[in-house]
Symmetry: C3
């Protein structure tokens, strides 16, 4: 069994903290870690282009002295056309010491991990999970701010933005954090996540504009609302400005506010904000490289860093209803569900069947 990273929740908060601590040490003492992965190879299988994530992983591996193979161009890559996911990933895993994978189908990284000959890191499986983004966000807050007792505003499409779900769930595991959700009614946080946060002890509030929330925030996590998510063009025109951060609004915020954004941005933060010392999103992108360096090092070098075992469970005749789930798109995979009598989810994409 290898130490795959498919879902951050396969590891404990203590293990997250271990990665974050190592990442900070690497940033402070980069020369110590040069050559730590000499002779190792990272396969980067980007079935869906994501140049920023890929370059972040590549620079991480190169700074550790390792090498990189892979593809980023599904249209012209022979390997991405027609061939079964397993045949490609199993073959490349035989050339690699660690394999980083991005795919448009949900559960694809987990499916690859079932047969891979090296550890697999999920660099995004459709809209499902993106655990290294969450590690990046946690590292940025640790280094630039703190992880506890924060009043955290989260702005954007909170219904469909699953990286936001992952982040707020992760932050709710640290003490004393409060959340303020800034969105439209229709694009608010799903009820089951809100329930989870509240049960974990986090306060939650909702507002419908950045200005309503900004005064008290310690952290403002900005994301994009896609135009097509609004109910109508009129609705979009009427509402879009209330979800844009500009220099004028920022005047009302705390002097030590941390403005984060996973990038790329479109128009949701105006360019005049970039010069404000509270704008940390470029720093955040840079922390992403250190988070990935720490992750690669831990996976390749530490014994005992094992995730929950992968398994292909029984289906009991059920079938995952998610068309974008890998189990419905890849020959040779079996329907598999995990959970209990009240909630049962697909093992690959976590879509609920009960």
């Amino acid at each position: 069994m290898y130490s795959h990273l498919i879902d951050l929740n396969d590891y404990s908060v203590e293990q997250w903290n271990e990665i974050i601590k190592l990442a900070r040490d690497i940033k402070s003492n980069p020369h110590i870690y040069e050559g730590a992965c000499t002779g190792k190879i990272m396969g980067t299988l980007f079935y869906e282009p994501s140049t920023r994530t890929q370059m972040s992983f590549q620079s991480a591996m190169l700074r550790l002295g390792g090498g990189i193979i892979g593809f980023d161009n599904p249209q012209t890559s022979s390997i991405a056309k027609g061939e079964n996911l397993k045949d490609t990933t199993k073959t490349v895993s035989g050339y690699s010491d660690i394999m980083v994978m991005r795919h448009h189908l949900e559960g694809a990284a987990k499916a690859a991990a079932l047969t891979a000959d090296c550890p697999v890191v999920n660099a995004g499986d459709g809209g499902h999970l993106h655990p290294t983004q969450t590690l990046t966000d946690l590292l940025t807050l640790t280094a630039e701010k703190r992880l506890t007792d924060l009043n955290i505003g989260v702005c954007g499409d909170l219904k469909n933005g699953r990286t936001v779900h992952s982040l707020v769930r992760a932050l709710s595991k640290y003490e004393g954090n409060k959340f303020t959700f800034i969105s439209t009614k229709a694009l608010g946080l799903p009820e089951y996540i809100r329930k989870e946060l509240i049960e974990g002890g986090a306060e939650c509030a909702d507002v419908s504009s950045i200005e309503e929330a900004l005064l008290d925030l310690d952290v403002l996590y900005m994301t994009r609302i896609q135009k097509e998510r609004f109910a109508s063009d009129e609705e979009y025109e009427r509402q879009k400005d209330v979800f844009v951060l500009n220099a004028r609004k920022l005047k009302a915020a705390k002097k030590d506010l941390a403005v984060l954004h996973p990038l790329p941005r479109v128009d949701e933060i105006t360019h005049e904000v970039d010069g404000d010392p509270r704008a940390l999103y470029f720093k955040q992108a840079n922390y992403g490289m250190y988070a990935r360096m720490a992750l690669i090092l831990i996976i390749l070098n530490y014994d005992g860093f094992k995730p929950k075992p992968l398994f292909e469970g029984e289906s009991g005749g059920l079938k995952c209803a998610n068309k974008r789930c890998i189990v419905n798109n890849e020959k040779g995979l079996k329907q598999s569900f995990v959970g209990g009598s009240d909630v049962l989810v697909c093992e690959y994409c976590e879509e609920r069947v009960i």
Copy 2:
């Protein structure tokens, strides 16, 4: 003169065995070879995408400590558009210590070798030659089985599959091998190759389904028959199953059968077979990396490993009739033929003119 690898037959069987022996030593003692190519650069010119072959070469070079430049994307690469093959390959060979090349035209690697400033390795020139696949197959059999006294079944399109031609010719140079060809009448092995095998002392048999052959085989080499190679759709529907290997058929085979496949597969081996210990095709893909490591090392480091000299011969007014031959597609190349009075072939693509 550089030690190019254009055609495996430019080298002796003893030299093949030397590569195989080194490859096995690298697999057993990888740390000895780390850094053996430090400071060296491999240019990888893939005019036709072949991600698996390319990644195999790249991981081989990286594991030896070398670096990689190149392209894999003819559509968007400026170098692959319009420019003469020679101008590109000569320039890149000036940046490289070894150059690996794949091209859709037959004879392209040989044409590049005429002017290159570094050794050239043929990673596939159209349907013509693919010598590192054959090296991979020989290494796999050496390590997992043996190279002599084998009953070898070869299944698929044996008429057009030139990598199969290369493999059976190579295996016929080792003692005591028997071949069983599994194909349709129309897609059987060409007569001139069968003649060559028999003259070399190898027994040959023909059957029209996997089941007829499987009982006695030591090796089953599977390849694909493309749907469009069958005489008609009805013919395809009627015949396709007899050329598919599945778990049921495999029950009748020897306990130590070796099932090989050059990959990628489509449907000719069912996924349930993957778990059978006799299914060696993923191991085979992995051996491909070690075969290429040995080849790179030998070409870059060993003196005296010289192939037959390249030359541009005289045409005597003849013209190669193969439209997919580089000599008919590249300015500045001269028609050139080799052989004797009874057989004369194009030096680039080996198409017979007499």
Copy 3:
């Protein structure tokens, strides 16, 4: 402030000579420089494919022991689509120690340098500047010929070929050089450049065919005239041959003529010329790697190698009229002009406004 290389004229002739001297030493003693950039990363952002330039930079960095990240495929790269230039370049500069950039818009490299967290090298910004080509040309002449007292013929489209402008301006700063311009009337050298050359003390002559000039030349710098630059198809058919160099014409030239070409060529030099010892264009391509090695080393390692400071000047209400200028295509950039009361040019693309 970092040592960017945006425009060769930001540095002194003494500094050019320093780069050339180092490049020659690297070529003579490559092993001394192996590992000189170990642990360093070069980001290569090719918004416009230019495989030759990119591979030249990549092999340069790898031979120095450094690593490479980047993209070369704007069509399939997520980073090149939609996102603001600054967001991409700032992020990648955080992963990199040096960033090499090619872009179809003029001034793009300068715009990137304004916010980058590492030195930026301009590998071509539209038709504007391509300083590492000029360094390559100067190195080639230094090593194979000399930089002074040359009779230099320049053939091709001298009106639109801005790399030719850059080269003749550079060569005019060395003593005793004469220029002979070989082009059509309509495609001759712009008057303001000719004026600059003459004021600098260089003799200039014009001829309308290679043959008229060849007898007395020490250097013939060939470039392409695109068919569509001719006034009409008839004009093209009538004139094209006089701008083609072939073996017959070359017979009349000096025995130690140096024929250069930035490559790729189309038909302007026939392939029979390649075997002539005076044909130096493949050597020239190879010198390009050494020029870039020297440049990378100097930028990464030498203190005190600073260019003229970048600044965003005042616009005084003026607006750059060049649609292909970055200032008219990138949000957040301000119109900025430099010069005096008689001449005022856009800081990004150098288009004159007064």
